[in-house]
């Protein structure tokens, strides 16, 4: 039974699209663990690997010439803000994974990013039109502090899973934890189940 906060009414920006414990934010706050890395697009690549061994790789030009999606999704950050109808352009991971051989036991993936950040996601959550490599936000190149040149976009999970500055996805046969997951955050991160921290 929750403790009632005497006299508290709240702002009640309630919207059925906002998960429990979240509030509506109209700005776009930034969450990252360290400084914003700088990327050089002339040498930038995005790769899919398995156990570290290369399976496929795209240069910036190759990636951004693939058929793209324009995506409008709600996003939910574990620090409590949610943002509705955020607009992105990106390449569906279905498009990227379709050309890659994936063994049946490779059920998990680890995103690796500039700056050393990692995050783990089940492969099923990357397929079926649920995840993208996003490189535009609101009609403009994705700003570095928001993960540019490119970030993962997995809007149905807490936003730390949408790893900024992503450079590769490593397919794994077992679920291993990434950066925030080892530091107390939930391994899966479903905002509708409030899976914020270990044990939630």
């Amino acid at each position: 039974m929750a403790i009632i906060s005497r006299g508290f009414r709240g702002k009640r920006d309630v919207d059925p699209r906002i998960p429990p414990g979240q509030y509506l934010e109209r700005g776009f706050p930034v969450l990252s663990a360290g400084p914003t890395p700088r990327a050089d697009l002339s040498t930038w690549t995005f790769s899919i690997t398995a156990g570290g061994a290369p399976r496929a790789s795209w240069t910036w030009s190759e990636l951004t010439h693939l058929p793209h999606d324009d995506i409008v999704k709600d996003i939910h950050c574990v620090t409590k803000w949610s943002k509705l109808d955020s607009a992105w352009r990106g390449i569906s991971l279905d498009t990227l994974l379709d050309g890659v051989e994936v063994a049946p036991e490779e059920q998990y993936a680890m995103a690796h990013c500039d700056g050393g950040y990692t995050t783990n996601v089940p492969l099923a959550d990357l397929r079926g039109g649920k995840a993208w490599i996003a490189y535009q936000y609101d009609g403009a190149p994705l700003p570095p502090e928001h993960g540019g040149p490119a970030r993962l976009l997995i809007p149905h999970l807490y936003f730390w899973k949408s790893a900024k500055w992503v450079r590769s996805l490593d397919l794994m046969t077992e679920d291993t934890w990434g950066f925030w997951e080892r530091l107390g955050y939930h391994a899966y991160g479903d905002p509708w189940k409030e899976q914020r921290y270990w044990g939630d």
Binding site: I3, I4, G10, R182
Partner: protein, 265 residues
Amino acid sequence: MDTLDTPSDNQLYALPWMVGTLVARTAETPTAMTLEIDVPGWRGALAGQHVDVRLTAEDGYSTQRSYSLASAGTMGLPGVPPDPAAHGSRIALTVQVVDGGEVSPYLTEDLQVGDQIELRGPVGHWFVWQPADPHPVQLIGGGSGLVPLMSMLRTRRLAGSRAPFRLVVSVRTPADAIYADELEALGGDVEITRVWTRRAPESWTGPVGRIDAALLEAACFPPDERAHVFVCGPTPFVEAVADTLVDLGHDPERIRTERFGPTGP
């Protein structure tokens, strides 16, 4: 990396909601309030961690926000006497009012001594300082971003650590300076650089304005000392400071950041 990466209490644990009772309110400035809260069953914390606070209205509507612990982190501190009044189940938060905000005005104005409040934590194992770590530590805080850095300073004192610490603290005006007396008292031991972004005290002879590269270069441990750097405050402040530090040659791997909100001083 070194000891900073191996928190002494990094076991997997769940964070159930706990009920705390407000035992003291202290105005730090006209717009910032320190709340001391007794939390039976509190497990201690590492310096730099935060709690999630949940407010619930009579009809069940509820909302949550994060607040850094201002009090010293006692987790993993050997030899801290079991003195519950000083550092057992009592925590302190310092909340800066955000005008028109949903939670911060309630916490600073409406919550009274004796009132109960729900919270859970400690949260976050990244923006933390380990008291056993002897490396130099550079703290850089903007506005209420000073709060978790104050916890590190208090933890350092409690632990009797000799690790060299320097602090750069940026606020708008003298009326916005939290913990002013306590920082003053630390002056001999911790090198403190003040930055006033809008207005300085009468006696001030230095510049008034935002932190820039020249100031950071003069105030901070040089990059070759490989200090741990903790930067906390509003997002634009953290972005600007962290970028400038990288430009000045600091190793990005040694810079840890915590961003509180969208705008700032």
